[in-house]
Amino acid sequence: MTRDDLASFRAGFAHCELVMLADTSAGTVLTFASAIHQGQERLDDLCTTACTLFRSELPVFGLAVLSGPRGSKLFLQSPRDPSEVICAVLGPRADVPTICAALGRLADQESVT
């Protein structure tokens, strides 16, 4: 999955601020695309949350959604390699179900290429 893939995905949704691909086995950010400049600290925080969700004793598998007054964060494991997690940061007015479905299609496309 390239930065261009993430950028074109993000451009499809006005309330999608950031899309990032994280490697939770190494705890690193592989690539990302964002509407505005993102500090490394914010990317690292998102990566840490992905690692906490998918690499701790939590029984999380597949998809996790963290929602609050500032919007929602989606975390989706890649079907091809579950250690890779696509993260998306959405604004509070985002259409979460539609973006979740699109994120699933993005991950599925990646798994067959």
Partner: protein
């Protein structure tokens, strides 16, 4: 970054929305009026706000410090007494006129957008204008924070048809959907999640909820939240997870109609 929650929230929302101006499909008057009042309330520094309907300018307002300070320009459809106020500093005695004007110009079934710019001249501090809170009350609206004292209970009510079970510390699990009994293994799993310290709870900020699907039962999703010191969980159909999460996120900013 300041610790003031409202400032932090406003900054985060601005960042989350990127550089695009906000657009809202407002099918009801409450949503249309709430959209404009939300935009006014978010103005800390003086701002000149242009409200567009379907891409066309509808009205221009000037706001600062959570106060509506001036009606800059209004369409011909606005009440004559409001058009007479345009361009002049507003006073609290103009509250009814301004509320009536907003009600007339924002009847719902609109596609609204808000553009923000610095005002041509700073507002006169001796003329503070009309508090947005007073406009909320005059229009029969209230921010949900004021009308939803217990968001968790509100969510449970709203998501009743999707709920399978609710687990709260110190209480027996409540089975909501008798057709989908919660297994003992799932119940034990949730109780483990609710016993602090848990990594899941540590990932939650105030008023956040975490939904996730399970490897053991991919058709189910667990929602974890923490109200005060007490973590709690709900079990829902996995297919409803995104909708319920979006509903929870929307609770913070969509004004709700309430009794005057």
């Amino acid at each position: 970054m300041t610790d003031h929650p409202s400032i932090a929230t406003i900054l985060a929302r601005a960042a989350a929305l990127g550089t695009d101006s906000q657009t809202l499909n407002a099918p009801t008057a409450e949503e249309a009026q709430g959209f404009v009042l939300d935009a006014l309330a978010a103005c800390i520094a003086p701002r000149d706000l242009t409200i567009l309907d379907g891409g066309q300018p509808l009205l221009r307002l000037e706001a600062a410090a959570g106060q509506l300070s001036r009606l800059v320009s209004l369409p011909d459809t606005a009440p004559a007494e409001a058009r007479a106020l345009a361009g002049h500093p507003l006073m609290f005695t103009d509250l009814e006129t301004v509320a009536r004007t907003l009600a007339r110009l924002l009847p719902g079934d609109q596609q609204l957008q808000c553009r923000s710019a610095p005002p041509a001249q700073p507002p006169d501090p001796a003329q503070p204008g009309i508090a947005v809170d007073a406009l909320y009350r005059q229009l029969g609206l209230a921010p949900p924070d004021a009308v939803i004292p217990d968001r968790w209970a509100y969510l449970l009510d709203a998501a009743e048809e999707m709920l399978i079970a609710v687990v709260e510390p110190g209480k027996a699990p409540r089975q909501i959907c008798p057709d989908r009994p919660m297994t003992g293994a799932l119940e034990r799993q949730i109780r483990t999640l609710l016993d602090p310290p848990t990594p899941a709870i540590n990932t939650l900020d105030k008023n956040e909820i975490l939904f996730f699907t399970l490897a053991s039962d991919p058709d189910l999703a667990i929602g974890l939240a923490q109200e005060g010191a007490h973590p709690r969980a709900m079990v829902i159909e996995a297919g409803a997870m995104a909708e319920v999460a979006a509903f929870w996120a929307s609770l913070a900013h969509v004004p709700l109609a309430c009794a005057r």
